[in-house]
């Protein structure tokens, strides 16, 4: 379960270009719930994800994950509880390290790292099996440096890395936006399979309205740093793309293109 309690963040405070990124934002995501966050550029989606992951320190307010207040925890401590897939495939993986080493780093996210050998045969076999689920042939490229993979392969690897070990919270930050439509579809299908199989509590930011309609239990629309609209239950199942776009106060070209 994720709770954001009156989160507030102001950039450039007291200056001419002061900007309120999060304006007393409140959000609650139940355990096992899949929330889809939409909103125009500058609505506070990225700030919210950064606040949850710890990359952004709040001016005031609280972040609670499964009942524990994590507001004061640095990024690497929160990593024990949450995993994140970034929009940029470069960001979520270590380019100069091999596929297997990246998998190892992800496996150890929630564990204590020891002075025992990292990549042992048992682990390599397990990684092979998990990667084969993607059907991209990554299981045969465990010793390949990640920088030699395509963007789609890297993003798929990031996803496998993130969902491994069943994090208490999965954050997806427009994770298919930088991919071509076909690859985006593969990554999205893999995401849904993993989230459903592992019943992960998930928060996905997207500009793709079709994804917002098709996936998730609840659509959360942000505007000017707060939740403007929530659609869940029967209403969520019957909503269409034009309905969603109609709710945007600022309609950007990007959203029309994405729909």
């Amino acid at each position: 379960m994720l709770e954001i309690q009156s989160a507030r963040k102001v950039f450039y405070k007291g200056q001419a270009d002061e900007k309120t990124a999060l304006n007393d934002l409140n959000l609650r995501l139940e355990t096992g719930e899949f929330g889809v966050v939409i909103g125009s550029n500058g609505a506070g989606k990225s700030s919210m994800l950064n606040a949850i992951s710890g990359a952004l320190v709040l001016d005031s307010g609280k972040i609670v994950i499964n009942g524990d207040d994590v507001t004061a925890m640095p990024v690497h401590k929160r990593a024990m509880r949450l995993a994140r897939v970034f929009q940029d495939p470069m960001k979520g993986t270590a380019a100069s390290m091999t596929v297997a080493e990246n998998m190892l780093l992800a496996e150890l996210r929630a564990n204590k790292r020891t002075l025992r050998r990292g990549l042992n045969p048992a682990r390599l076999a397990a990684y092979k099996e998990r990667l084969s689920l993607l059907g991209l042939g990554l299981e045969n490229r465990l010793d390949t440096r990640v920088e030699l993979l395509s963007g789609g392969q890297r993003q798929s690897l990031s996803l496998i890395m993130a969902v491994g070990g069943s994090p208490e919270l999965l954050l997806l930050d427009e994770h298919t936006a930088a991919l071509d439509p076909r690859t985006a579809d593969i990554v999205m299908q893999a995401t849904i399979r993993a989230v459903e199989a592992l019943k992960l509590t998930t928060l996905m930011v997207t500009h793709n309205m079709q994804h917002a309609v098709d996936f998730g239990h609840r659509v959360i629309m942000l505007d000017a740093g707060r939740v403007r609209l929530e659609i869940a239950g029967a209403e969520k199942t019957s909503i269409t793309v034009p309905d969603l776009i109609g709710h945007f106060s600022v309609k950007t070209d990007r959203m029309f293109l994405a729909s």
Partner: protein
């Protein structure tokens, strides 16, 4: 013909001495490689940590301490120096190179303070090189054996460490610090520890050097960084850097080959003052090679260096 014969003869007679020297300086090359390659933290601390290790070791030996504890204390001093550089970078967001320059400048005064004068003779004190059985102390062979043994131990330990779970995490910090942090790795701890370790190796090199040459000098670090960098480039050109094993072997191979090259140049009659220019041009050429290879287009915007 005569010239060639003379050159080769004097080169060959210098091989053992040069080899002993290069095995000691391999520690400094290691101290340059670890931050540069494993942590993407281009670091200049070694230029100050090397004489720091020498000065600490020299003072302790002059005070009658036995050689091994003197080296260990020098090692700790170098570790602290490296930690300081990393901390300056992380805490105050000062560029790594500038943090290193600050540190090595301050270390110069500290080294002078430690010794109380600019050089100190420890000739005649017991050294670790006396401990090699069956060899007469003071000859290159004992230095080669001792420094080589230390080098092998350090190499084996590092090779094991960088393949462990913790070691992989440290390498991840160099590969992608944001990703490392998101995977639960404490970037501060890994960076401070890693750069500290590098400082410790540079200082150990300085301590061994002092025991080898019989005196400590505050200026003994002058230009050591560029020598080390040249050695590293040569080593990487020979053994590569695609795996942990190769990356760790590069400093040792590079140090051995580089100092033999230098010795050959000197034997061939190159004036010693020109050596730094030649080394600098060589490092420049090695660093420029990839961008020259990449066709005649404009130079790449910039290399990804952590700021």
């Amino acid at each position: 013909m005569d010239f060639l014969q003379n050159t080769i003869a004097s080169f060959i007679s210098l091989v053992p001495v040069t080899l002993a020297q290069s095995l000691i300086l391999a520690f400094v090359v290691l101290g340059i490689m670890i931050p540069f390659r494993m942590l993407s933290f281009p670091d200049l601390t070694s230029e100050g940590a090397f004489p720091l290790g020498g000065c600490v070791c020299g003072v302790l030996m002059a005070a009658g301490m036995s050689p091994l504890p003197a080296i260990l204390i020098a090692l700790v001093a170098g570790f602290v120096a490296g930690c300081c550089t990393a901390f300056i970078h992380l805490r105050f967001r000062i560029h790594t190179l500038l943090a290193g320059i600050l540190m090595m400048t301050m270390l110069y005064s500290i080294n002078l303070r430690i010794m109380g004068r600019s050089n100190l003779s420890v000739f005649g004190s017991a050294t670790v090189f006396d401990w090699v059985p069956g060899l007469q102390p003071g000859f290159p062979a004992s230095k080669i054996v001792m420094a080589g043994a230390f080098g092998l131990i350090v190499f084996a330990l590092l090779l094991h460490f960088f393949r462990t779970e913790k070691g992989t995490a440290v390498r991840a910090v160099g590969a992608n610090p944001d990703m490392a942090e998101a995977q639960g790795i404490n970037v501060w701890l890994a960076t401070i520890g890693g750069v500290g370790l590098a400082g410790a190796f540079s200082a150990a090199g300085g301590a061994l050097m002092v025991q080898s040459q019989g005196f400590a000098d505050v200026n003994m670090g002058l230009g050591i960084l560029i020598n080390g960098l040249a050695a590293l480039m040569i080593g990487e050109a020979i053994v590569g850097k695609q795996s942990v094993l190769r990356q760790l072997a590069a400093p040792f191979v590079g140090a051995i080959v580089y100092y033999q090259l230098v010795s050959f140049c000197l034997a061939a009659g190159m004036p010693p003052p020109d050596l730094k220019l030649a080394t600098g041009l060589f490092v420049l050429a090695m660093l420029a090679l990839p961008s020259l290879k990449r066709s005649r287009g404009p130079a790449p915007a910039r290399e990804t260096v952590r700021e």
